[in-house]
Amino acid sequence: MDLDRLLQRARSGDKSAESEILKYLSARFRLLAERRVESREVAEDIAQTACVAVLENYRTAVFDKGFAPWAHGILRMKVGNYYQKRKTLRSTVTSGVEIEGGSGSYDPDPEFMRKLIACLRKLFRANKRYARTLVLAYQGYSVKDICKKLDASRQTHYSNLHRARSLLKECLEMSSE
């Protein structure tokens, strides 16, 4: 889908193009937000708020680097606002108040987890570097430190992970069949 062409149509008053942009951005914003806030409900809220902000401003806004970076900037701002709000809440509320989405609760499907663990075991056996990368990330090392410890450049690190992902995806697909 050509986002810039859609934008042109929407700016010229095409309502269907506008709703397509909304649909397009909504799914992507949700995905990006989910990774940043860890709670699906909060991510949904942030994605919706960001979409509304995009729709309110896209006709008049000036895009220095293009529409996508501008829209991405709005999403980042909304995520930042969420954390700022949460920080303020945390500092003002003394106790007994559960902040929505703050717990980052994770409740995976047991069947899926079983398959994933089995695939990861295979992958860890086949590729120790992949396991070590994950372990170092779990231990809180930065990407720079991980690359240094594994004696790999950043590009090699990305290539290794990309290959590992292909194997993992293949294994998950096979186990689903």
Binding site: Y138, Q155, H157, Y158, R165
Partner: protein, 223 residues
């Protein structure tokens, strides 16, 4: 499904999913996700797996087990005490130095128990015409006796007999004579009851155990 619009950026996909992407590349990839349908679909398909890889404790345990990370407390303690840092910065060394410095203070606070000092009576027996010397029976007795003609490297039979000629102390291979023919014998506290005793020194090497010298002494009751 279409192909990735930029393979170079598309390679960051799993690093993004597993949160092992460099901060400099994060924005680039997220912008790419906004434009590239292929990568968006890929990330969406693996959302569940990547969430599990990032957050599941079970997955973390599996990864730790796969690389053989130490699990036991003992191994962790050893790793903590002796980490892979310059020797001067290893905690075990600091702890050892600290203990070494604290030991003198510990000895000052809790001194090692010592045997109490007890009085020793000295009994000198010489071959002179005199009364039997007397000492108190309440202390340890250091008996010093002279036997003419003994060798400093010889072995002799030394006995202490009571007034009924019963042997109450015997040392069959006494060899503590010095070059001046003087022997030293220590009799423990309370070994002998008050009374009159004879110290008899014989030649252990001779067939009939020839008596070389005999002294009499008296042990007085404890004061």
């Amino acid at each position: 499904m279409s192909k990735c619009t930029d393979h170079k950026i598309g390679r960051l996909i799993h690093a993004y999913e597993t949160n092992t992407i460099h901060p400099d590349d994060l924005e680039t990839f997220e912008l790419h996700l906004l434009k590239c349908d292929y990568c968006f679909q890929e990330v969406s398909l693996m959302t569940e797996a990547s969430r599990a890889i990032r957050h599941s404790e079970e997955v973390k345990r599996e990864a730790l087990a796969a690389v053989g990370e130490p699990k036991s407390w003992g191994s962790k303690l050893i790793k903590w005490l002796w980490p892979d840092t310059p020797v001067a910065f290893r905690p075990a060394l600091s702890i050892a130095l600290l203990l070494l410095m604290l030991y003198p203070a510990y000895l000052g606070l809790f001194p090692e128990p010592q045997e109490p000092v007890s009085a020793v009576e000295r009994l000198n027996l010489y071959p002179t015409r005199s009364d039997s010397p007397a000492v108190s029976s309440g202390s340890k007795i250091l008996v010093s006796f002279v036997v003419e003609g003994v060798r400093s490297d010889g072995k002799y039979l030394v006995e202490i007999q009571n007034s009924d000629n019963q042997t109450v102390f015997k040392e069959s291979e006494f060899d503590s004579f010095d070059d001046y023919e003087t022997g030293l014998l220590v009799i423990g506290k309370g070994l002998l009851a008050p009374g009159t005793y004879s110290l008899v020194i014989s030649d252990a090497g001779s067939e009939d155990s020839e008596i070389l010298e005999s002294y009499r002494f008296v042990l007085l009751p404890k004061q």
